[in-house]
C-alpha cells in the first residue's frame, strides 16, 4: 500500500528533481502541457503494461470508504 501526499516531502519515496526527466516521463505518460489532472498517477510493475500504462491514485478517505463499504449504491458487481 503506497501513500502520496501532494504537498508533503514524502520521505519514504525518492523524488526525481531533474526537470528533463520529469518532462520525458510526462510525455511518455501522454500528459499534455495543459493537463490539469489532480490525482497522482502511478505506473510500474504493479500493472501488466509496466511503465506504459498508468493508474490514478484514490484520495485516502475515498479509498478507505471503498475498502470497507458493501453498499450496492457504490459497488454493483463483484470483481474478486
Amino acid at each position: 500500500m503506497i501513500f502520496v501526499d501532494k504537498r508533503a516531502d514524502n520521505s519514504d519515496l525518492e523524488e526525481i528533481t531533474d526537470p528533463s526527466i520529469i518532462a520525458q516521463v510526462s510525455s511518455n505518460l501522454n500528459f499534455g502541457a495543459d493537463a490539469d489532472d489532480y490525482a497522482p498517477v502511478i505506473c510500474g510493475s504493479i500493472i501488466n503494461g509496466g511503465f506504459k500504462r498508468k493508474l490514478k491514485m484514490l484520495r485516502s478517505d475515498l479509498f478507505s470508504l471503498l475498502s470497507v463499504c458493501k453498499s450496492d449504491a457504490i459497488i454493483t458487481e463483484w470483481k474478486q
Partner: protein, 166 residues
Amino acid sequence: MFAKTSQSVAMDDIGKRLRGWAAPLKHKALFNDLVDVQAVNVPQYVADYKDPGVAASGRPMQAAPCSSFAYAAYLPPGIHQFLIYIPGRSIRIPHELKHAPAPAAGRELISVPSRLFCKTIIVNLSQCDAVPEIPFQSEEKPPPKTISNVWRKWRHDSEEDIAKAL
C-alpha cells in the same frame, strides 16, 4: 474564494461525511492480520490517528482533512519498481484577489510544478503460508522434494584440533 469544480465540491462533501475514515485505513495498513501489508510513506495523521471524540456541545469534532492519496495491490514475490507522477496545475486567481498577500499578490495564474517520485520494493513472501486472499496462491502446486538425512561417522577431536579451535 477560489472557484471550486464540481468534482472538488463532491470530494469535500464525501470528506465531511467520512468522520473517522483514518481508523480503518490505519488498521488495514498497519495492523492487518489477514495479509502481510507493506505500507509505504504512511501519513503521520493516519499512523497517529485517534478518535477526536465529541465536543462539549455534543457534536462530533472535526477530523483532520484528507490531503493524501493511496494505492494498494497484491504483488508477487520479486523486485517491483514504481513511478508516481503528480501532474502540475495552473490555479487561476480571481480578479478581486490580485492584490492579496503572497503568493497570490500580483498574479492571475499560479503554476504548481509537476513532481516525480520513484520507489523500489522487494517482496519476499513466504509461499508456505496459505493466504486465501491472494489469488495466485490458490493454485495447486507440487509438494516440495524431500532430502534424505546424511550420516557421517563421529570422530573425536584430537588435542591438536582442540588447540586449533581455541
